[in-house]
């Protein structure tokens, strides 16, 4: 059966136009709503941040005011902190020479006497000299000085695994029997040099 559309062309055009108008209105309305929601969200976030910043600013102001009230305590605490940190660092770099001498004495063999000692800080060479009954005792003294660990019975510093003295060297050795008559210590005169392991004697 033949179908004939008798709708006038103007009507068809009007209907098409209305369809497009309706569709575009709906789409733009949906887009507008989405856009409004997005705008609302970002504005809300922005206002929320601003409100939080304002609250933090108020808190900072209150804290600054309280800090100003405590300014005299702050001044004292700064002095306290300054002196404490300075002294702490000063003491940490102070070599306990009492422990150094104690360790040295503990390493002197019974038949060796120490007549002269000379120490200088800053990693400089130290010297010790004296007399001994025989050269083997001087050798024993050198061995004792070179060994690691504590020698003193009541060590003030912990030397486990560490050398108290390094670069131990015999500088001079002379045997003169005439001196044996004048000195009980013996006829062997010696001089030993070494370095103090200052890092091990920091308290």
């Amino acid at each position: 059966m033949l179908q004939v559309d008798l709708t006038p062309p103007q009507e068809i055009k009007r209907q098409k136009t209305q369809y497009f108008v309706g569709t575009s209105t709906k789409i733009s309305a949906v887009l507008l709503v989405m856009c409004l929601l997005a705008a609302g969200y970002v504005v809300y976030r922005s206002l929320s941040y601003k409100a939080q910043i304002f609250a933090v600013d108020q808190r900072v102001l209150a804290l600054e005011s309280r800090r100003a009230e405590l300014s005299d305590v702050e001044e004292v605490s700064k002095k306290l902190a300054g002196k404490y940190f300075l002294l702490q660092r000063y003491m940490e770099t102070r070599v306990a020479y009492s422990s150094v001498v104690k360790e040295l004495i503990a390493r002197v063999p019974s038949e060796v006497t120490v007549d002269d000692i000379a120490f200088e800080s800053g990693g400089k060479k130290a010297n010790v000299s004296g007399f001994s009954t025989n050269p083997s005792q001087v050798a024993a003294f050198i061995t004792e000085l070179s060994r690691s660990g504590n020698a003193a019975s009541d060590p003030a510093v912990e030397l486990t695994g560490k050398n108290a003295f390094t670069d131990v060297r015999l500088e001079t050795l002379s045997v003169d029997d005439r001196k044996a008559q004048t000195r009980k210590a013996g006829s062997v005169e010696y001089a030993i040099s070494f370095k103090i392991n200052e890092g091990a004697f920091l308290k």
Partner: protein, 260 residues
């Protein structure tokens, strides 16, 4: 002529149709167009600038929160110090005995004499010569551990040191140890720079170069930048406890409290 008139009528008619079509388009699509304009306006003038400002605001909030937290901690610490003001003053007094505001060499000499008495050694002499004025003292050189540097020495610009050359006489080296221990346990601090000891038939004559620190004027600047103190910190309390064990010769010589 008629043809020209007909042509004019046709073109006017067409122009009217175009104008009517445009008018109809505007009327029909007015709402969607308005919506689009609003969308573009919102996007350009509201969403984009506000959205772009959000990270900046978040950053501001974060930094201000950190600032507030740090300030809060600082104020809490100051309130704690305020509550324990007595302890603060006591600690500061102790530290001030240890680190004098000026050289006080005569008092230092008297202190060495008293230390000799306590260590039961014979005090022979003490000599002091003023070093170059207005120059910060160089601290006793940093020691080394078998070639390795030890913990850094404090900044010499913060303090000066007065060197005194002390000569004592001891019966044996153990007495020298005793004297050194006494000097290490004195609240007014000493650092030994040199020791030279010599046996002369009956006793050891020992010469010691001893340095004692005192504050440099530059120290006040340092205090403005130094970190805060926590009175309950174990390391701090141990340090103060250690100072308690030290002998205060300075107070015995001059009971005037040091300048805080």
């Amino acid at each position: 002529m008629i043809v020209i008139e007909n042509l004019n009528v046709k073109s006017e008619e067409r122009a009217r149709q175009v104008a009517a079509g445009f008018r109809d388009f505007i009327i029909n699509f007015a709402i969607p167009l308005l919506f689009l304009i609003i969308i573009v306006g919102l996007a350009v003038f509201v969403i984009t600038p506000v959205y772009k400002s959000l990270p900046d605001l978040a950053g501001q909030l974060e930094s201000k929160t950190v600032e507030a937290a740090s300030l809060q901690a600082k104020v809490a610490q100051l309130e704690d110090l305020e509550t324990n003001r007595g302890l603060v003053t006591e600690d500061l007094t102790k530290l001030s005995w240890a680190l004098e505001e000026r050289d006080k060499v005569p008092e230092l000499s008297e202190q060495v004499r008293r230390m000799s008495t306590d260590a039961k050694v014979i005090f022979n002499s003490l000599s002091y010569t003023n070093k170059a004025e207005d120059l910060p003292a160089v601290p006793v050189a940093e020691a080394s551990t078998e070639g390795q540097p030890i913990s850094p020495a404090p900044d010499p610009a913060l303090y000066r040191e007065e060197d005194v050359d002390v000569k004592i006489e001891t019966a044996d080296l153990q007495k020298l140890v005793d004297f050194l221990q006494v000097s290490e346990n004195s609240i007014r601090l000493f650092k030994v720079g040199k020791i030279a000891s010599s046996f002369n038939d009956t006793s050891y004559e020992t010469s010691l170069l001893m340095a004692s620190p005192y504050l440099n004027p530059g120290f006040s600047v340092y205090t403005q930048t130094s970190a805060s103190i926590d009175l309950k910190d174990t390391k701090y309390r141990d340090f103060m406890g250690r100072l308690d064990e030290f002998t205060n010769y300075a107070q015995a010589i001059d009971a005037t409290l040091p300048k805080l």
